[in-house]
């Protein structure tokens, strides 16, 4: 019997398969190239320099900037690694009272922008604040010369503030990694004679390495490009230097040069880490997933674990929210409802748009990179994702220039051909800021998706291929359901970061357009911090809900789990 449908012959099928992969490859290359344009613009601006900045910088402030930046990012990286990974492990694999609550609550500090927590703690810990006031009353001191109190506006203060609000990135990714681990690996490690601690350090931790490294590198990039906190605390980092050269020495190309150095540094770190783990594989070789064993902790250990989880939440979330709430209530009648709603709407729209676009692009790039296995594409994706490390303001300039060029080019084209002037189509609109956000936050989405894809064994792709479905269908029907949690995580990370974003928005926004973040900044920079309480709280609140949703989704994402831990028999 001849089949009703003609069967494809071997070479056609092969060519079709190549074409499908080539489409992905091409699409990914185009997207990565487009995203890389602003970064390239920054580099080009740097090269176009005719300002003789380097000798002056090198002999005066550059060593100081570099040292401060290294200390700051190193300390914050280390602090967030310890807190994030430690709490993730405790909450995922141990049982102690309050674990369920801590699971979600540990993510809360992520919703608090670093500059807001800096303002809050300065308010609380400064000379005129409640803490020192209480001390002075208790001990009878009268002026600042009578006693010593740690200065919050210092490098140490900046390290603490940033660690408190950035550890959730590491926590989130580490937790997702621990959840996605097969218990069998850990059990094998136990049968081979390693106790729970050693299993953690020598098996679980290394297996979670891609996720933890990505989390820590996000933290470091976030630290590198922060300006609000370090400016407020008078800590002179590399980024402060970039702004300084740009604005005080009026040298944009000098600033672009410094930004390019920062870029190279981050690229170097990333390359180093990749080279280090090039031969290692992290995907799980078994598809057997049992519910996670909850190691039950004894009384003392349980208390220790609970405190270890409680402290970051208290310091990173409860205290700032308490202070902001107090301000918001006291100054409630001064806030204008119409303005407040407009700001909130703007923030939400922008963040949501950016999150949607960034996640889609990130998925495309990470997956395209995976299936084509092309080193060039991989490198280009890596490069495009580095936008996260560049100070928002410099990146804004990198976006403004090409967009402006494009708009003016289109306008002159239209005028030449049709005699109508299109004016500025993209510049100065929400699209321009969204583009900026996407370039800035792509690292979040690519990183998260990549970490998740790394855990899916390539044999899944091969199996799907032998069953006759192409790459697109494989993504849709096989990978996406497994990666649901990570994708949602990536979207939430970008959304929350978008709500907090400040420098880029200040530079690129349209007329009569305020977000919650820009409004808070304007009030705080005029020492009207108390009036910003409501706006700050809204930023935090808008961040909390998605964060909690994410936590629930991740908690249920473990393959084969019904959502409950079982006690180790």
């Amino acid at each position: 019997m001849t089949p009703a449908v003609p069967v494809m012959n071997q070479s056609t099928r092969w060519r079709l398969a190549r074409l499908r992969i080539d489409v992905w490859w091409l699409g990914a290359i185009v997207i990565a190239a487009l995203v890389a344009i602003p970064l390239l613009t920054v580099i080009l601006l740097a090269l176009a320099s005719n300002d003789d900045i380097w000798p002056h910088l090198a002999s005066t402030v550059l060593p100081h900037y570099i040292k401060t930046t290294l200390v700051l990012s190193g300390s914050v990286g280390f602090g967030t690694f310890v807190i994030g990974t430690g709490t993730a492990w405790l909450v995922t694999l141990c049982r102690f009272p309050g674990r369920r609550v801590f699971e979600c609550a540990l993510l809360l500090p992520m919703a608090v922008p670093a500059y807001i927590i800096a303002y809050v703690y300065t308010d609380v810990l400064e000379y005129a604040g409640p803490v020192q006031g209480l001390l002075r009353e208790a001990f009878g001191w009268t002026s600042s010369r009578d006693y010593w109190f740690p200065e919050i506006r210092s490098l140490g203060g900046a390290v603490s503030m940033m660690t408190l609000v950035l550890y959730p990135y590491v926590y989130l990714l580490a937790r997702a990694a621990f959840l996605e681990q097969s218990v069998c690996v850990l059990e094998v490690s136990r049968t081979l004679g390693r106790g729970p601690w050693r299993s953690f350090f020598t098996v679980a931790l290394p297996l979670a390495r891609p996720a933890i490294v990505i989390g820590t590198s996000l933290v470091i990039m976030e630290t590198l490009n922060d300006f609000g906190t370090v400016d407020f605390f008078a800590v002179n980092t590399f980024t402060v230097g970039i702004y300084d050269v740009w604005l005080n020495m009026n040298s944009l190309s000098g600033a672009a040069q410094l930004a390019s150095v920062l870029l190279l540094f981050v690229l170097g770190l990333v390359a180093l880490e990749r080279a280090n783990r090039r031969s290692q594989r992290f995907h799980h070789t078994t598809s057997k997933y049992r519910p996670l064993p909850g190691y039950r902790l004894g009384a003392w250990h349980a208390m220790g674990a609970a405190s270890a989880c409680l402290v970051p939440i208290l310091l990173g979330f409860a205290v700032p929210c308490g202070v902001l709430l107090k301000h918001a209530i006291v100054h409630f009648d001064e806030a204008s409802a119409g303005e407040y709603l407009a700001h909130t709407f703007n923030s939400l729209t922008l963040s949501f748009l950016a999150a949607a676009v960034t996640v889609v692009l990130g998925l495309f790039l990470a997956y395209g990179s995976r299936i084509s296995g092309d080193r060039l594409l991989g490198g280009l994706v890596r490069f495009a994702a580095v936008g996260y490390a560049i100070p928002g303001a410099v990146l804004a300039v990198g976006v403004l220039h090409p967009l402006g060029r494009f708009d003016n080019f289109l306008d002159s084209l239209m005028r030449g051909t049709f005699g109508i002037s299109t004016g500025l189509l993209l510049s100065g609109t929400i699209i321009a800021i969204t583009v900026g956000y996407v370039v800035r936050f792509l690292a979040l989405s690519v990183g998260t998706v990549e970490a998740s894809l790394a855990k899916i064994t390539p044999s899944m792709d091969d199996a799907a291929r032998t069953l006759g479905i192409g790459p697109g269908a494989t993504l849709r029907r096989v990978h996406l359901p497994i990666m649901r949690a990570s994708i949602l995580t990536a979207g939430v990370l970008v959304f929350v970061d978008g709500m907090k974003e400040l420098p880029m928005t200040l530079i690129m926004r349209p007329f009569n357009f305020e977000t919650l973040a820009t409004n808070v900044y304007q009030l705080a920079s005029r020492e009207l911090l108390e009036q910003s309480g409501l706006g700050s709280l809204t930023i935090v609140a808008a961040g909390i809900l998605p964060v909690l949703v994410i936590s629930l989704v991740i908690g249920r994402s473990r393959p084969g789990q019904e959502g409950a831990l079982e006690v180790d028999p």
């Binding site: 002056h56 600042s144 604005l247 009026n250 929400i430 699209i431 009569n512």
Partner: protein, 349 residues
């Protein structure tokens, strides 16, 4: 297929909504880019709309104003810019984004040494950079000039914001313009030795430091004194102001260093008439009075009444050097601050 067409519709809708620019090139509007905070200028702009019927659209661009104007080029929707500090005005001029405004009204209202020779920018308000001295711990006349800040008797008694901040850069630039680079270097080194703490915070933080006993002398712009003295929302700032004596430095010599806020018309302006009307309004009696009073600054137009708080500090002799000459020394000033590591000082070093 169905999903695809839905996606197409959504994307199209989003693009159409998002691409609708907020500003029109209509005849009843003027578009403004400002580095001045909205709540400072909104009352004045409201007055403008009331008096002329022209609507104002504003973007508050704190940094990157020049970059944005340059990138937008000839199609930029901005008609006018409002900014602060002579350095910024000079940068705008150097970036060739402004066009000259010739107006007899402006010429009459604003003194020549406070405008650009080519008419590219006009100063609208003035502020002096004064010394705030502790009433308790500093004797009258003990510190009377900027140069006095470097005296050995001031060791460990000075609070100041970052040397890189534009207000301080302009001050240092004026010292260089008057005394020369070498003398300025010696002076700045001396000031650095006298710092009570690392340069930090803003000008008001200096007042706070005096009140708390951390230092005896600080440097600030005059309007901060006004803002603190009348601060109902944060009454503790009134206490800070009450502890301070205002000193206008160099009264016996060249006069106190002043800086300005100013405005100009952009090259790409479409609503040129409306923009010119805006500038003329801002230089008129009503706006000068409102604008200056709003922020406790000095109006540039002669004969406009001062705010009572500002009047209470008394008249003073202002440095009459052309602002453009100060602007020339700004990059030398920035380099100087770096070379002596002013911002990296720790107390006593």
């Amino acid at each position: 297929m169905k999903a695809q067409s839905t996606i197409h519709t959504v994307v199209l809708a989003v693009i159409l909504i998002a691409a609708a620019p907020g500003a029109a090139v209509a005849s009843g509007e003027v578009n403004l880019y400002s580095t001045r905070q909205p709540d400072l200028i909104n009352p004045v702009l409201a007055g403008f709309t009331r008096s002329t019927g022209i609507k104002t659209n504003i973007v508050y661009v704190q940094k990157g104003l020049i970059e944005r104007l340059k990138a937008e080029g000839a199609n930029s929707p901005a008609d006018a810019v409002l900014t602060v500090d002579i350095g910024e005005l000079d940068n705008l001029k150097k970036a060739a984004v402004l066009q000259p405004v010739i107006s007899p009204i402006l010429k009459r209202s604003i003194p020549a040494h406070l405008t650009d020779p080519q008419g590219l920018w006009y100063a609208l308000t003035m502020r002096a950079r004064i010394l705030m001295a502790s009433k308790e711990r500093v004797k009258p006349g003990e510190v009377a000039t900027y140069e006095d800040l470097a005296k050995p008797s001031m060791r460990g008694r000075i609070c100041i914001r970052s040397g890189k901040h534009e207000y301080n850069i302009s001050l240092i630039a004026s010292v260089i313009a008057h005394n020369g680079l070498e003398k300025a270097r010696e002076w700045l080194d001396g000031v650095k030795m006298n710092l009570a703490r690392k340069p930090q915070g803003n000008d008001r933080a200096g007042a706070k430091g005096i009140y708390e006993g951390a230092c005896d002398v600080a440097v600030a712009n005059t309007y901060y004194m006004g803002l603190m003295t009348t601060n109902e929302k944060q009454p503790e700032q009134k206490a800070w102001a009450a502890a301070i004596r205002v000193v206008f430095p160099n009264q016996d010599g060249r006069g106190t260093h002043v800086n300005v806020s100013g405005a100009g018309m952009t090259k790409s302006a479409k609503n040129t008439d409306n923009a010119r009307q805006l500038l003329e309004y801002l230089s008129g009696d009503e706006a000068q009075s409102l604008y200056a009073r709003q922020n406790y600054e000095y109006p540039v137009k002669a004969g406009v009444e001062l705010d009572p708080v500002v009047r209470s500090w008394g008249p003073f002799k202002a440095d009459a050097i052309g602002l453009a000459d100060i602007a020339k020394q700004r990059s030398a000033a920035a380099r100087l601050v770096d070379q002596i590591g002013f911002d990296h000082s720790t107390p006593g070093s």
